[in-house]
């Protein structure tokens, strides 16, 4: 009798048998369907991206519509557009560009999100490349609000303005977002940095949450405020920003390499145990390997998908293939 493979088995076999394409996975691991289904294809596509960033070519047809179109589909088939606002900081120029885009494309709803940025809801699929082109020219990139990847790094104002701030929480949030944006992960990843234990950025219910204290940075992992509400578990306390960056990147890469697709970090940690995560990341050499592996992946995947798709050659794919309602008069 053939035993069904778990996701973890598949991940292990992709690595050990060096399976570098979906066809190889289907064939070598005995898939029963011709080319998978809507459940397995995005998972296998993610595992191949994470394990073979250089060798494997991302397959847009194995992605859910939101990640294929780089926008969130809404109930009426329109999309929402969320530009990135690094650490929740914006400028008058960016706000003007967003307002102009909202006018130009008749955006019916403009909403402030919980992740400290602005959502333009109700954009027609055919208008996406044009609105991205406008936002790109104002210096903005995709906020990946649609991705199983890094979403936002929420921050409070920290030592710049707050009388209680102990560290530059906004600055660290921006650094983390600039380092991690564009990376694909097993599920969405939300982060936050609070400048003191009053925790105005609500860091203790994020996948990775940092609370600044006088002596440094308390890094917590495995928080969530979704179907389940979870408080972060303490991963480590470090003294410097550089160490905080290193630990967060290494944690994200460990999660990328090991978790089942669609397991948020809290679910994954519940399976492997916080102790294993701490022990693995506590090894300096392993931490360095994880950071290097993440950097390699980012050298390929940290590209703004909006800028790429705003170009004419890609933009035309967002229009209908043909319009038979425009019959030439004879």
């Amino acid at each position: 009798m053939i035993q069904a493979l778990t996701h973890e088995d598949v991940r292990r076999l992709i690595k050990s048998q060096e399976l570098q394409s979906q066809e190889a996975v289907w064939q070598e691991l005995g898939w029963k369907t011709r080319n998978g289904c809507h459940v397995c294809r995005p998972a296998i596509n993610y595992y191949l991206i994470a394990d073979w960033p250089v060798e494997y070519q991302d397959d847009p047809q194995s992605r859910f519509v939101n990640e294929r179109k780089h926008a969130n589909i809404q109930k009426d088939g329109t999309f929402s557009v969320v530009p990135r606002m690094w650490g929740g900081i914006t400028t008058a120029n960016e706000l003007r560009a967003i307002a102009d885009a909202a006018d130009k494309y008749n955006v019916p709803t403009v909403k402030v999100t919980g992740g400290q940025r602005i959502d333009l809801l109700g954009v027609k699929g055919e208008d996406l490349p044009a609105i991205w082109d406008d936002l790109t020219k104002a210096g903005m990139v995709s906020g990946h609000a649609y991705a199983k990847g890094l979403r936002t790094v929420k921050t409070c104002v920290g030592t710049d303005h707050c009388r209680f701030g102990t560290q530059d929480s906004t600055g660290l949030g921006i650094k983390l977002e600039k380092k991690l944006w564009g990376s694909w992960t097993p599920h969405k990843v939300k982060m936050a940095v609070s400048g003191c234990p009053r925790n105005c950025a609500e860091a203790t219910c994020k996948d990775v949450g940092i609370v600044c204290v006088d002596s440094g940075f308390e890094i917590g992992v495995g928080g969530a405020a979704g179907m389940d509400v979870k408080e972060v578990q303490p991963l480590v306390k470090v003294a410097t920003e550089d160490e905080a960056m290193e630990w967060v990147v290494a944690f994200v890469q460990l999660y990328r390499e090991n978790a089942k697709y669609l397991d948020r970090p809290y679910k994954w940690i519940a399976k492997v145990g916080l102790e294993w995560v701490q022990e693995t990341l506590g090894d300096e050499a392993e931490r360095a390997r994880l950071v290097a592996a993440f950097d390699l992946s980012q050298s390929i995947y940290q590209k703004d998908p909006w800028a790429e798709r705003a170009k004419a050659e890609e933009a035309k794919k967002f229009a209908p293939l043909a319009d038979l309602t425009l019959e030439a008069a004879e």
Binding site: T33, H38, R41, Q61, V65, A322, L324
Partner: protein, 109 residues
């Protein structure tokens, strides 16, 4: 049956789809294999989701809104769901995609 040329097969990604606007409503043209295409109504019978945005697997598409799976040959919803989409004749010839000319809506005009 008469046919209309709607574009090149390579303009539809393998295991993907494109939308075609017609007088009878939007039609989705799916490419399930190198030279195999199907044309159906683009509207999911459940809540009207745009099927051209779904994941294409075997000769089926999964609606992007609530994961209804529709058979592109019969148009029938699969599994526990009940519903059907209109199907239209489509074929590939010399690298071009042809769909049935009734989609020009001439009879209705």
């Amino acid at each position: 049956m008469s046919w209309i040329d709607i574009g090149a097969i390579d303009d539809i990604p393998l295991r993907g789809a494109r939308k075609v606007k017609t007088k009878l409503g939007c039609v989705a043209v799916f490419r399930t294999d190198e030279a195999t295409v199907f044309a159906t109504s683009n509207t999911c019978p459940h809540k009207g989701g745009p099927l051209n945005e779904g994941i294409v697997h075997d000769n089926k598409v999964t609606c992007p809104l609530h994961n209804w799976v529709l058979d592109l040959e019969s148009g029938e919803a699969l599994g526990a769901d009940e519903g059907r989409i209109e199907t239209y004749a489509a074929r590939v010839e010399n690298g071009r995609v042809l769909i049935e000319a009734s989609l020009l809506g001439r009879q209705a005009a």
